[in-house]
């Protein structure tokens, strides 16, 4: 025990996976074990069909793995009841997707507030600070439908952060963006997650960003 502690073998990890796999028809996809520290950043790359999104969904507690388990903050996600897992996800995890979807009937501010409401963490000043950081404070009361795709993606990053989660999972956040917007979004994600001491996991097949992350897993290698 003492040796394990000294060599960091028993160091507390934010995310730990153990032999997880999924099954699509007759195909079994096995994933590498992941051990990620608090505040770390990880890029998961792979071709289409390599199971990137499935892995992200498993890590986020959205898809139950066929085998293995996922520990986030030492909590086995799939041993929780659906309600508790939803609640855990709301408290600990933020998501950013390729196509940002919002509640169309609500304004920008209400969408962000609703995210906080779902995890019982309503804090308007946090929303205001984050909106200022992405220069979108002037759109606070606009309808979400009036925003450009770039603006929507920036708001979706803020939405992922408003609850001050431990982890952000981003699924192909730059694939639909031009080069300029792509680097802006990556910078925004990395900077904001660092500022908030949030762990960042990005899955993508976008080669433009692979050099930005030293910590990578290539699913094609497994």
């Amino acid at each position: 025990m003492l040796l394990a502690y000294i060599f960091g073998l028993n160091q507390k990890k934010l995310i730990r996976t153990n032999n997880i796999s999924v099954k699509y028809g007759d195909i079994d996809i096995k994933f590498p074990n992941i051990n990620l520290d608090y505040g770390g950043q990880l890029l998961i790359i792979g071709k289409s069909g390599s199971g990137k999104t499935s892995l992200l969904n498993i890590l986020g507690g959205l898809l139950a793995p066929e085998t293995g388990n996922v520990l986030v903050n030492d909590v086995d996600l799939f041993s929780l009841t659906n309600n508790k897992r939803d609640n855990f996800r709301g408290q600990q995890i933020g998501f950013v997707f390729q196509t940002p979807h919002f509640i169309k009937s609500l304004s920008v501010n209400d969408n962000l507030k609703f995210s906080q409401y779902m995890s019982s963490k309503v804090n308007q000043s946090k929303i205001d600070i984050l909106l200022k950081k992405v220069d979108l404070n002037h759109l606070k009361n606009s309808s979400i439908q009036n925003l450009s795709e770039g603006e929507k993606q920036r708001i979706s990053i803020i939405r992922a952060l408003v609850n001050q989660p431990s982890i952000i999972f981003a699924d192909e956040p730059t694939s639909a963006l031009d080069d300029g917007s792509c680097y802006n979004v990556v910078d925004l994600l990395t900077n904001l997650s660092q500022e908030n001491n949030t762990t960042l996991v990005i899955v993508t097949h976008d080669k433009r960003i692979k050099d930005k992350f030293p910590n990578k897993i290539n699913l094609n290698d497994f």
């Binding site: 959205l62 939803d86 979807h101 009937s105 609703f114 779902m118 309503v122």
Partner: protein, 445 residues
């Protein structure tokens, strides 16, 4: 926040939500409208029918006799001789027998020739301004007549021949307003009341001609009224007829310029009230044995009339229930379509930590709000249209209906509609509950 979300989801889909609300409010409106109409009609009919035990008039339709002489909404069957009904006042089972004579109107308000007991005994009316009529051609007007026609004490007017459609004015006979009645909420508010002598004075030839047929009033166009001729006969005979109130007539001033045989004087009907339960079994029989007379019991006639109307009202109820069913189906389709459109939104909510319970409640709330908005707008519409209809009914049928009457059943209906709206939302809520987030996100996001 969840209330805001549910409301915003309804507002941002104005067409589909609007259709559900419109259908729901239309069905509620029709239900309330038929409920209020039937309730007020039953109340008004029964209230007025119970004031009079027997209407004695000319032979013909009993219902028509009751509608004309009690509710003042139809034409008389004909006239009867005063001396043929004089036995009623003397009968020991009769509490009061009040003669009425119809024939003229003023701006669609009927002029009723009668005695003051018509006001005090039947309608418990009282004079709010001025005095009771004493001389011929003096009138007391109902409160609505005064308000609507802007008539006041001392004002005068010419009556028109006929009850509904006037054919000509009695230009040489000027009625003078001597009293205005306090409002009663009953038919008397719409009437112009005068003495029998006034009617006889305006229609001096009618007794010679027999009964004047009010339906063919145009036939009277050519009548030339001889105004210098006989002015009504002695009031002694009237007071004899109504022995119970004879003392009230002591102060009457009688104009005895000429004398016409009492036997020839005609009236439209006698409104009889009994003072013994036995009268119900004897008086109508006695009356109906006489060749020229017919007795009609308002309570029985009205019961039969309402039984005739009720099936039609029930058909309206069934129709409104059908629209109600359609609106519920529309809510279901609206919410299901909405779920289809919002599956990514719902997935995102789930991803963001919204529990299945929260999503379930938010969809049920949408059903609640559609039910609430639909039923409240239906309630307001129903009462408003009843109010508009009431004005038309007041104007055309002299009957006071109102949109400001409420029924406990309406609140039950409101509660039930909201409950049904929420129940309808359960199926779409289950659809959202069963949504596979991972699959939805994989397909689209």
């Amino acid at each position: 926040m969840i209330f805001k979300l549910a409301l915003r989801n309804i507002i941002t889909r104005p067409l589909s939500s609007g259709l559900s609300v419109v259908l729901l409010s239309s069905s509620i409106m029709v239900i309330i409208l038929s409920m209020l109409t039937m309730k007020q009609m039953k109340y008004k009919f029964n209230e007025n029918a119970n004031k009079i035990d027997l209407v004695v008039g000319a032979k013909g339709s009993r219902l028509q006799s009751v509608l004309c002489n009690v509710f003042h909404i139809d034409y008389p069957n004909g006239n009867i001789k005063l001396n043929e009904v004089s036995f009623l006042a003397k009968h020991p089972f009769v509490k009061s027998a009040i003669p009425i004579s119809l024939g003229d109107s003023y701006k669609k308000h009927r002029i009723i020739g009668t005695n003051p007991n018509f006001i005090t005994h039947i309608y418990n009316g009282s004079i709010s301004k001025g005095n009771i009529f004493i001389k011929p051609l003096e009138v007391v007007i109902g409160s609505n007549v005064a308000a609507k026609l802007k008539l006041d004490i001392g004002d005068s007017f010419n009556g028109s021949h006929g009850i509904e459609e006037s054919t000509h004015d009695h230009e040489d006979f000027l009625y003078r307003v001597v009293g205005i009645l306090s409002p009663t909420g009953e038919i008397i508010d719409q009437l112009i009341v005068t003495s029998l002598e006034s009617v006889w004075q305006v229609h001096p030839d009618d007794d010679k001609k027999g009964s004047f047929d009010l339906k063919t009033a145009e036939e009277h166009d050519h009548h030339i009224h001889d105004h210098k001729s006989e002015i009504s006969k002695n009031n002694k005979e009237i007071t004899t007829f109504d022995l119970k109130t004879a003392e009230e007539h002591d102060h009457h001033i009688h104009d005895h310029k000429s004398e016409i045989s009492k036997n020839n004087k005609e009236i439209t009907a006698v409104l009889v009230n009994y003072n013994s339960p036995r009268a119900k079994f004897t008086i109508p029989g006695i009356v109906n044995q006489k060749n020229a007379l017919m007795g009609a019991e308002p309570a029985i006639e009205i019961k039969q009339l309402l039984e005739l109307i009720e099936p039609a009202v029930n058909i309206i109820y069934v129709l409104s229930l059908f629209i109600f069913g359609l609106s519920i189906f529309s809510i279901l389709v609206t919410l299901l379509n909405s779920m289809k459109d919002r599956k990514y939104e719902i997935s995102m909510m789930r991803v963001g930590g919204a529990s299945i319970r929260l999503i379930f409640v938010s969809i049920i709330l949408e059903g609640f709000f559609i039910g609430l908005i639909g039923s409240i707008s239906g309630l307001i519409l129903g009462h408003s249209i009843m109010g508009i209809m009431a004005r038309f009914l007041n104007l055309n049928y002299n009957y006071q209906f109102t949109g400001l009457v409420f029924d406990r059943l309406e609140f039950a209906l409101l509660f039930m509609t909201i409950l049904i709206g929420m129940t309808t939302a359960i199926f779409p809520a289950i659809t959202a509950y069963r949504l596979d987030i991972s699959k939805t996100l994989k397909n689209k996001i």
